[in-house]
């Protein structure tokens, strides 16, 4: 049984192959390959517009957070006292799926073409379950290509025997929205 959280480990096939996937409580170590696959799966489901399946990747107490910026270099830090671009609890994430599946989300209908890329996936050296990654999201609408990008932190837990996302924090480096809209990353 290998604990992978003792240092930052690049996700990679041969490392993943070495590892068993032990049952563990919240915050225990996880397999880097499995963590990366979960992130890729999330991107795939969002690109495909499979919102209910996307939501199912999240734990029952999950949160989803995109902070705003206080100034050039400092994201807002406390979602209870400062403004975020979005801070969703699990039930508000459900709202998002209701909106997107309603066919009345006019900004996203009739056309929302997106490509989400996830890379540089690393397990945190100190905190078990914390996964760092970089993301790029290409959004194409109204003949305009917009490229959003930034960092991401997922905290992964095991729930009902499955690896789930307990929280997701998205740092958005280019908060200029030419068409006034960005789908969730």
């Amino acid at each position: 049984m290998t604990r992978q959280a003792s240092k930052v480990s690049p996700q990679g096939a041969q490392r993943a192959a070495d590892m068993t996937d032990p049952p563990h409580a919240e915050g225990e170590s996880i397999c880097p390959g499995r963590a990366a696959c979960l992130l890729f799966e999330e991107a795939r489901l969002l690109d495909a517009g499979r919102y209910s399946e996307w939501l199912a990747l999240y734990a029952h107490n999950a949160s989803y957070w995109i902070p705003s910026w206080k100034n050039e270099n400092q994201p807002t830090g406390d979602p209870q006292r400062e403004l975020s671009y979005i801070y969703l609890t699990r039930d508000m994430m459900k709202d998002y799926t209701v909106r997107m599946e309603s066919s009345f989300a006019f900004a996203a209908s009739p056309m929302l073409r997106t490509t989400r890329m996830v890379g540089n996936v690393l397990l945190d050296a100190e905190r078990p379950g914390l996964v760092h990654s970089k993301w790029l999201m290409h959004v194409y609408r109204r003949s305009v290509s917009e490229l959003f990008s930034g960092d991401c932190e997922h905290v992964l837990v095991r729930e009902d025997g499955e690896l789930r996302i307990a929280s997701k924090k998205v740092i958005l480096i280019n908060d200029r929205f030419e068409l006034g809209y960005m789908p969730l990353v």
């Binding site: 995109i66 902070p67 705003s68 910026w69 206080k70 100034n71 050039e72 807002t76 979602p79 209870q80 006292r81 400062e82 403004l83 975020s84 671009y85 979005i86 801070y87 609890t89 039930d91 508000m92 709202d95 998002y96 209701v98 909106r99 309603s102 009345f104 989300a105 006019f106 900004a107 996203a108 109204r142 305009v144 908060d175 200029r176 929205f177 030419e178 068409l179 006034g180 809209y181 960005m182 969730l184």
Partner: protein, 410 residues
């Protein structure tokens, strides 16, 4: 440009705002959203000569705090001196014109231009020129302090600026709207403050689309249907999910381009969307927002949204409501943006150029429908176009000498 549908006044010039009370019509020509010379005239008349909202004093609370912003696309520096007074400057080094302050905000007693290191006190005086011996002995540095913003005034913490030294004082510009702003500010004994963070977005459309839409309740059940579906799915009562239930809410023309819409909550407490001409909207519902409209070009607009609160109370639920609706990641605003883009597409059809703003023209009242209402010009149902008609009457009056020309003059 001439078109078959153009209406002309006695002098043969194109009319952009056409009112025909006998026919029950009030129409606006869509040239106002797409023609460059109209935009240039608006920038001159409203954004250079008039009062424009810049920032709230709580965004620079301490001595030596500063922030930078734009007025008519020009970089402006607002700085609070040691004496507590907020001053406005044109953010341009008097030497070669670089920005004297390149940061969004911070705290500084002085500003040093990074080009040749000329430095200025935060009250504007030029305090140092590098290599002073290189300038002629009779070269006068004393007149080269930061150029002050010609006018800067605060109304209860809301800072307005003007690039023109002349014109009516702020209080006169605000007119009836000041008392409606008071209604919002007087709801709490605690002073209003803006919390850290901004939700900013742009759209490829004319700034007036955002101004009109901010006080438009007619579109609410339709454009924001997905938001209503979300609330219904949650089991919430969606009172304003159809037009029938908006019968006891009001839209108000406050004159001088200002306006408000008033909804009453279960306890009869009024909540407003208050528009202060030309670029500020204060929204109380569905969450508190200070919305600032920055026109960038005839077909490009930037909007900045801020969350405001009174005192230090727990506002986390209101923050969630703000984020859930407003801004580029919310469940409401992106659909408004889609409307603006769609309208701009439609305006390229110039054979049917007229927009209709006649809704409620027959039921405008001048007597207050709510006893406590401060003075106003006309009121109607919240889904009526009272505010927009007031906006375009002011617009027509202010631009009458500027926008009837087919070509702008230099």
């Amino acid at each position: 440009m001439t078109r078959a549908e153009d209406l002309r006044d006695a002098a043969g010039e194109v009319e952009f705002v056409h009112e025909d009370l006998k026919a029950g019509t009030f129409r606006v020509h869509s040239g106002v959203y797409v023609e460059n010379h109209v935009f240039d005239a608006e920038m001159e008349a409203f954004f250079r000569r008039g009062w424009v909202y810049l920032a709230h004093e709580s965004q620079l609370p301490e001595p030596n705090d500063y922030l930078t912003c734009r007025l008519a696309r020009q970089p402006i520096l607002l700085s609070r001196g040691e004496d507590g007074e907020v001053r406005g400057f044109l953010n341009r080094c008097r030497h070669r014109g670089a920005l004297v302050c390149r940061n969004e905000s911070g705290n500084a007693k002085s500003f040093t231009c990074f080009y040749h290191s000329w430095s200025y006190r935060n009250t504007g005086e030029l305090t140092g020129v590098t290599g002073p011996e290189g300038f002629p002995p009779n070269f006068d540095l004393s007149g080269l302090g930061l150029a002050p913003l010609p006018r800067l005034e605060s109304y209860r913490g809301f800072l307005f600026g003007s690039l023109s030294a002349d014109g009516p004082p702020l209080k006169e510009h605000l007119g009836n709207a000041a008392a409606y702003l008071d209604l919002i500010l007087d709801k709490s004994d605690e002073p209003l403050r803006v919390v850290p963070g901004v939700s900013t977005y742009e759209f490829k459309g004319n700034w007036k689309l955002q101004a009109e839409n901010s006080l438009d309740y007619y579109h609410l059940p339709f454009v924001h249907r997905s938001f209503m579906e979300v609330r219904r799915a949650r089991g919430e009562e969606v009172k304003r999910g159809n037009l029938r239930n908006l019968a006891n809410d009001y839209g108000v023309d406050l004159g001088n381009g200002h306006g408000t819409v008033i909804t009453l909550d279960e306890g009869g407490e009024p909540n407003q969307h208050l528009f202060l001409f030309p670029n500020l909207v204060l929204l109380e519902e569905p969450a508190p927002q200070i919305r600032v409209i920055d026109p960038l070009a005839v077909d490009q607009t930037k909007v900045r949204g801020y969350f405001y609160m009174h005192g230090e109370a727990d506002n986390s639920m209101k923050l969630r409501h703000y984020e859930r609706f407003y801004g580029p990641t919310g469940f409401g605003t992106p659909d408004d943006m889609e409307v603006f883009h769609s309208c701009m597409d439609g305006y390229s059809i110039d054979s049917v150029p007229w927009n209709d703003l006649s809704r409620g023209l027959h039921r405008e009242v001048t007597e207050a429908p709510l006893a406590w209402m401060p003075p106003f010009v006309s009121a109607g149902n919240i889904t009526d176009d009272n505010f927009m008609r007031g906006f375009y009457r002011k617009w027509r009056l202010a631009l009458s000498s500027d926008v009837r020309r087919p070509e702008p003059t230099a």
